[in-house]
């Protein structure tokens, strides 16, 4: 059981960057971006192919980030210049990436690391006794903290504020001399860069290979993580750094729950997409359920008040 929680946490860190990326588009930019499902395997595929070609795994991670940014820029171009609606722009980039990813992987659906990954290299630096899981947790935690810090500072700058204003009220942003198209493209680039980096991390620290279909459902996983973090820990008034941290924890909780669901014998790996959907539905229903319970309670109190011959003063 504890081992399951630890391996769940380790896996969770692979999805942290993806979750932060999804948060940027869905919450800050108010852009339902489906590019995710293409940019995640893009990051993984690029990393495996580059590392096998002899490129330094850390450099491969950065290149994956840049490739993701390019994918985001294309979605942004489709939306802002070609005026294609957000969801369709994302879908178009996503399906294009399926073909592109297969090209990158030389037509193979799965490519596996032949050379040392970042995890192997880091394992060499550490004393013996560190398991793969503990390395993933250690590096993942440092990376998450670093990313939160960078995002916190970036979104506090003038450009960052302009980006948030664009997502919040584009009319106001334009009236205050913000180039909302540029901000939309920038947000999508940042988001997809993080998502591709997440794919690279997943391939290098957890999965050991890249599969072209590994992005399937990743948008729901990202959303589930964001929503879990928000519902469990966030109030409207919490600071931005707190919110980002809550979302990272949401990503970890999601993976732990996911691992625990697999722990028993009653569920197959293939059932987990359904489990994910159910988790998202439950989390999104929390406000409705709360309202329902509250109104039921108010109704019961009110009914009781009038039951005994109208106790209310006339």
């Amino acid at each position: 059981m504890l081992a399951t929680i630890i391996s769940g946490t380790a896996q969770g860190f692979s999805w942290v960057l993806l979750t932060l990326g999804v948060y940027i588009t869905f919450r800050l930019l108010d852009f339902a971006d489906l590019t995710v499902e293409g940019s995640f395997p893009l990051g993984a595929g690029v990393s495996v192919v580059l590392v096998n070609a002899g490129v330094n795994p850390f450099l491969a991670f950065l290149i994956a980030f840049v490739c993701g940014m390019t994918a985001g820029a294309i979605t942004g171009f489709l939306n802002t210049v070609c005026k294609i609606p957000p969801i369709l722009s994302g879908i178009l980039t996503m399906i294009s990436l399926y073909s592109i990813n297969l090209r990158i992987q030389s037509g193979r659906a799965t490519v596996t690391f032949q050379e040392d990954t970042a995890r192997n290299i880091i394992a060499g630096w550490l004393p013996d006794g560190f398991s793969n899981n503990s390395i993933a947790i250690l590096v993942g935690a440092i990376l998450a903290a670093l990313t939160i810090a960078i995002l916190y500072f970036f979104f506090g700058t003038e450009i960052g504020a302009a980006l948030r204003a664009t997502g919040n009220n584009p009319y106001m942003a334009r009236a205050l001399s913000v180039n909302t198209k540029a901000m939309t493209v920038l947000g999508l680039m940042l988001s997809n860069g993080l998502i591709a980096a997440s794919g690279s991390f997943y391939a290098q620290f957890d999965y050991g290979s890249a599969i072209v279909t590994m992005g399937q459902g990743s948008i729901v996983i990202g959303l589930a993580s964001v929503i879990i973090g928000e519902v469990l820990f966030c109030h409207k008034d919490h600071s931005f750094a707190y919110k980002l941290t809550a979302i990272v924890i949401g990503a970890l909780i999601y993976r732990i729950v996911y691992s625990l669901a697999l722990y028993g014998d009653f569920m197959e790996e293939t059932d987990l997409k359904l489990v994910t959907a159910v988790i998202v539905v439950l989390m999104l229903s929390v406000p409705v359920i709360k309202d329902f319970i509250a109104s039921r309670h108010a109704r019961a109190v009110n009914t009781a008040k009038y039951k005994n011959g109208g106790a209310a003063d006339a």
Partner: protein, 265 residues
């Protein structure tokens, strides 16, 4: 100051919904002018403001601002020169951002945005002072989200934001129309105060003929995409609502039709 020559704008050209809104509109605004704009439904008042602001590009004609041709300048670049307040109180502010963040966005309207801190500590005192001018107690709520404010408070804040950096021209598009009468009067007083104290040049669309006569030094009446009456100075001061209605009938050949205007007077 601002010189519009022969501006035309047709929406949905070449379709069954084709609608010519501005038909050869010309207007010369002098420095320090505070112009009130009235007119019937669909006269083109809002479209005129939107063409000046760059929300819509004009189909023909030329717009000069201080001698610079801005006819084809994108909206966000023109925003560096213009202050704008919209009819919808929700449109001028970002609800999820705090009061100080909104003000800091407005403070940077005329500047290049970079990677400097979005709200610097040195600005905050200035914001507090500017907010105290509104007398709404907002100076003590700098870090509150704007979404928590009422429509009137948000509109007053938008007005402050539009004038925080002195605009070459302030565009007010029926900015009190969505407010209750008491709040509308307050925001209008504030408008007059800010325009006169900061010596602003302003163009204000209103549906209230009394306000249109009372405020500003010049009044223009629009009908069918053109200006049909332009009055300033003593003549404007002595106007009565009846005079305006009569002027309209003479110039337009029909009775003035503006639902809100008739209800308001």
């Amino acid at each position: 100051m601002l010189k519009m020559t022969d501006i035309s704008k047709t929406f949905n050209p070449g379709t069954v919904n084709e609608k010519p809104v501005l038909k050869g509109l010309s207007l010369h605004i002098h420095p320090g002018d505070f112009i009130t704009v009235i007119g019937g439904n669909g006269a083109g008042k809002s479209t005129m403001l939107n063409v000046i602001a760059g929300v819509h590009k004009s189909d023909g004609g030329q717009i000069l601002l201080d001698g610079t041709d801005i006819t084809y300048l994108p909206e966000q670049k023109r925003a560096r020169l213009l202050g704008r307040v919209f009819q919808d109180p929700m449109m001028g502010t970002a609800a999820n951002m705090s009061i100080e963040e909104n003000l800091a966005m407005a403070f940077r309207r005329t500047k290049h945005r970079g990677l400097r801190w979005g709200v610097s500590a040195s600005e905050v005192a200035g914001y507090r002072e500017a907010l105290s001018r509104l007398e709404l107690g907002l100076e003590d709520r700098l870090t509150s989200k704007v979404g928590l404010l009422s429509g009137g408070q948000r509109q007053a804040l938008t007005l402050l934001m539009a004038t925080l950096q002195k605009p070459k021209l302030l565009l007010l598009d029926e900015h009190t129309a969505a407010l209750d009468p008491k709040t509308a009067a307050k925001v209008l007083d504030l408008t007059e105060e800010i325009i006169s104290e900061d010596h602003l040049t302003a163009l204000m669309v209103t549906h209230n003929m009394r306000d249109a006569i009372k405020l500003g030094n010049r009044l223009i009446m629009m009908h069918d995409g053109r200006i049909i009456y332009d009055v300033s100075g003593e003549e404007k001061k002595n106007l009565q609502v009846e005079d305006l209605l009569k002027k309209f009938e003479t110039a337009a050949g029909e009775a003035l039709a503006n639902d809100r205007m008739l209800l308001a007077n």
